[in-house]
Amino acid sequence: MLNDLSPMHTGSAIGLILIVLGFVALLLQKIYIGAEIATPTEIELPLLGKMKANYPALIFVFLGFGLTAYSLTKGKPIFSQWLVTGFMASDIPEINWQDGRLVVIPNNYDLNVESRSGRFTIEIDLEGTKTLEDAVKLIDYSHPKGSLQIVPSVELAAKKSGKPSKIVDDLLPPTTRNYRPIRLEPMPAN
């Protein structure tokens, strides 16, 4: 779970702790008497006016606010949307593709399978510079009569090394993968 914390979360957490510590310090503060004039130290702050305080406590508070604000604005993760498309093919007559299930491992992505054509689309939001092949281990379509699978990393490696690949080699944006028609592997019944 700790590995899932983004810089935004980390920075915000530290900032919050500093704010709390700063306020605790302010509440428990000792008023420092100015050596020369024997009066509590006063600090004039822009917008806030004068206040009796000590610098260390104030530094905590302002540092905390600053860190939190910075984390919220700069630490925001950037997502890129990937689009994966393809076709499934089969010799089984009148197959209804929606009788099967298209799954991406790990899951939680938007999937769509057209019942007659076997066309599928997958929309995936990936953080930062992650690619489809980094995030998706397996694309599986399972139908009672058969199944087919795509291992994205294997297909991309094959394409890059000039070997036969299921990826269609056309001019598409880098966050798109279009797979050739893939035949459903018929599975025998029990």
């Binding site: 799954v103 599986d140 379509y141 399972s142 199944s147 599975m187 025998p188 019944a189 029990n190």
Partner: protein
């Protein structure tokens, strides 16, 4: 005729060909199959993945062998027999 005979004999002798056998991998002796699991040989080379119904097509030479099944981080072993028959064979994974 002799040529044909030689051809058949040579084909049989050199037939270390892989056969497509179909297996459904079960979770032990339970009635639950193991979906989306990676299946590997002992040397770590990936054979494939089971589908949503725990089925997998395996292309390996004939004979008995033990393979590894990795399901959600847990590795189990499966003993299976590749015999070239087209039926869906049920096999059990064990720890």
């Amino acid at each position: 005729m002799r040529t044909l005979g030689v051809f058949i004999v040579l084909s049989l002798l050199t037939s270390d060909a892989s056969h497509a056998d179909y297996f459904r991998i079960m979770d032990g002796a339970t009635s639950y199959y193991i979906p989306y699991a990676k299946v590997e040989e002992d040397d770590g080379s990936v054979i494939g993945y089971t589908d949503a119904y725990g089925r997998i097509r395996i292309n390996l030479p004939l004979g008995q062998r033990t393979v590894k099944v990795i399901d959600r981080g847990v590795t189990k072993s499966v003993s299976l027999r590749v015999d070239g028959r087209p039926n869906l064979k049920r096999v059990e994974a064990s720890n």
